[in-house]
């Protein structure tokens, strides 16, 4: 589509693949991930999963946020939104079309990423154990957890898409949209870290609750909740302080996404287009 011929799109993809390859190499050297020693297979997989998931959260998050905000922002920056709207495309229709193509993008990224991970893991196992049998002998619960991890990746990716599309619709430019949406998660994670520190030194106050209503930390905590405590997501990323239940955390995420979507759609529908 319109993004396909833009250089940044391809640069991002290539850098992403290179980083993933590098991570796989590092993991291969990690003694904790040793498929040769029979007893450690399952824990090796979890170790792998942890790294892979963190990478997805950071890497894919960044790619999706920047790409979707370019997808939307470029129409404003090139002024092409006025041509599209002036020829009778409804504003909500345009917004939904953008959201849909961004979601397709996220899906492609998700599938591509996990295929690469699967490939990398297979190579790793082959290299260390000489055959793929260690994988086939994994206990069933590992596969269930893998599915849950995948689900949480999908939720994160979807959230990134919604954040990217809505914020750039509100910002009405490539640079503004990209800047704000890339800063969105660092900011709410940083806020969470501050709240956690305050909580630790026991400063009382209802604002500790705020931590549980932040989007980023909720998403960070989702894998742990989904796998009901399996160490798929260690404390590497800031999590909510009070630990809502899975349902409540999902509700928080959904509320964020719906609110952002409504806000952006409303803004697009009502504001003058001066691009």
């Amino acid at each position: 589509m319109k993004l396909r011929r833009q250089r940044p799109t391809w640069v991002l993809v290539v850098v992403g693949v290179l980083l993933l390859g590098l991570a796989m190499l590092l993991l291969a050297a990690d003694p904790a991930v040793a498929f040769a020693r029979h007893s450690l297979w399952a824990s090796s997989v979890y170790q792998l999963l942890l790294v892979v998931q963190l990478m997805f959260a950071a890497g894919a998050g960044l790619i999706l946020l920047t790409t979707t905000s370019r997808l939307v922002g470029m129409e404003y920056s090139f002024g092409t939104i006025r041509v599209i709207l002036a020829r009778g495309t409804g504003r909500i229709q345009l917004f939904l079309a953008k959201l849909a193509s961004a979601l397709v993008l996220a899906l492609m990224l998700l599938i591509g990423y996990w295929l690469l991970v699967a490939l990398g893991t297979a190579i790793l196992v082959l290299h260390q154990a000489g055959s793929l049998t260690p994988l086939t002998e994994l206990p069933g619960v590992v596969w269930v957890n893998l599915g849950q991890a995948l689900l949480s990746c999908a939720i994160s990716a979807g959230s990134c898409v919604v954040v990217g599309v809505t914020i750039s619709t509100l910002a009405r430019s490539v640079t503004g949209g990209m800047l704000v949406s890339v800063l969105f998660f660092p900011i709410d994670n940083a806020l969470d870290l501050i709240l956690i520190q305050l909580h630790r030194i026991a400063v009382p106050g209802p604002w500790v609750w705020v931590s549980d209503f932040l989007l980023g930390p909720s998403l960070n905590h989702l894998p742990t909740l989904l796998t009901s405590g399996r160490e798929v997501s260690a404390g590497a990323l800031p999590a909510p302080i009070l630990h809502f239940s899975l349902a409540a955390t999902l509700l928080v995420v959904v509320c964020w996404l719906v609110t952002l979507t409504l806000l952006a759609a409303l803004a697009l529908a009502r504001r003058d287009v001066l691009a």
Binding site: T80, I81, R82, R87, G88, T89
Partner: protein, 308 residues
């Protein structure tokens, strides 16, 4: 002041105003553009032309009043009528990293498919066929303007709303645009185009409207704007005594001297020949008498620069 027959109107503004903060960009504009007309929309920089056109395209919402496009309120039914409108607003908006042809394909796809043959013929029409596969970022201003026009024409619209289509074009390009506009009129299309140069559009437009600081100062035929009805230009040897004599006559009190030494005078009957014979009888034999023609640019400047 509206002289032309306005049948069914293609575009009508009804008391349309737009306020940006405390500035009135467009102030209670009333205007009708009939179907099949080529209508010029004139005004100096900042007069409110672009703002008006954006309102007609549903891009900005009037502070008050309403705009009807092809008979329907564009704010309410824009999605129904706008597909029949070809817009070109300010500098053409294009995807700079894509080729001219791909741009046409993408814009075409927004409103259902456009055949490859149509794209081909538009590229030819706008003389871009040789550069169609180059990135738009490598195009000159005039070439972008042409491509913008091609985008506006993509779906063979009923009504074209063109904001300064001649912007950045060379003289040959301006001629081509004029020819294109005539061709469109012959096909029965309506064209609403803006410009800040009256001379540029005066020759193709049936009617014009002139805007100053958001308010309409003239709307009507170009020739009516130029001829000062009932006045004649008289060249005569004895300018001062002739003028004095005319002013003494009952019909001639409003006669005056123009800058270049011609007398601008009414006629006793409203026709040139009586003025000629009366003056001759009085001993002032005119060298030439003709209907008063005002200079296009002078009229425009007078209308757009004068005090409100």
């Amino acid at each position: 002041m509206q002289t032309a027959l306005v049948q069914e109107s293609a575009l009508s503004f009804r008391a349309v105003s737009k306020r940006f903060g405390s500035r009135m960009a467009v102030d209670r504009l009333d205007l009708e553009v009939g179907r099949g007309e080529v209508f010029g929309f004139l005004g100096p920089n900042g007069a409110g032309k672009t703002t008006t056109m954006r309102m007609a395209l549903g891009l900005i919402k009037p502070t008050s009043g309403c705009v009807e496009v092809l008979g329907r309120d564009v704010q309410l039914e824009g999605r129904r009528v706008l597909p029949h409108v070809g817009p070109l607003v300010e500098t053409p908006a294009l995807y700079p990293h894509l080729s001219g042809r791909t741009n046409l394909r993408i814009f075409g796809a927004e409103l259902g498919r456009v055949s490859a043959a149509r794209i081909e013929s538009l590229l030819e029409l706008t003389a871009l066929d040789e550069r169609q596969d180059d990135r738009v970022s490598s195009y000159s201003l005039g070439m972008r303007q042409r491509l913008g026009l091609a985008v506006a024409l993509l779906h063979d619209p009923e009504l074209l709303i063109l904001d300064e289509p001649a912007n950045g074009l060379d003289p040959a390009g301006i001629r081509e645009i004029r020819a294109l506009l005539r061709q469109l009129r012959d096909q029965g299309k309506t064209v609403f185009l803006s410009s800040h140069v009256l001379g540029e559009v005066g020759r193709v437009c049936d009617r014009v409207a002139i805007l100053r600081q958001g308010a309409l100062v003239y709307s009507g035929r170009v020739d009516a704007l130029l001829s000062e009805a009932g006045y004649f230009e008289v060249k005569v040897a004895e300018v001062d005594s002739a003028l004095a004599w005319i002013r003494e006559q009952a019909w001639g009190r409003s006669a005056r001297l123009d800058k270049d030494g011609t007398i601008v005078s009414p006629s006793p009957s409203g026709r040139g020949r009586e003025l000629n014979s009366t003056l001759s009888a009085a001993g002032f034999i005119p060298d030439a008498i003709g209907p008063r023609q005002r200079d296009l640019e002078a009229v425009f400047l007078e209308l757009t620069e004068g005090r409100p």
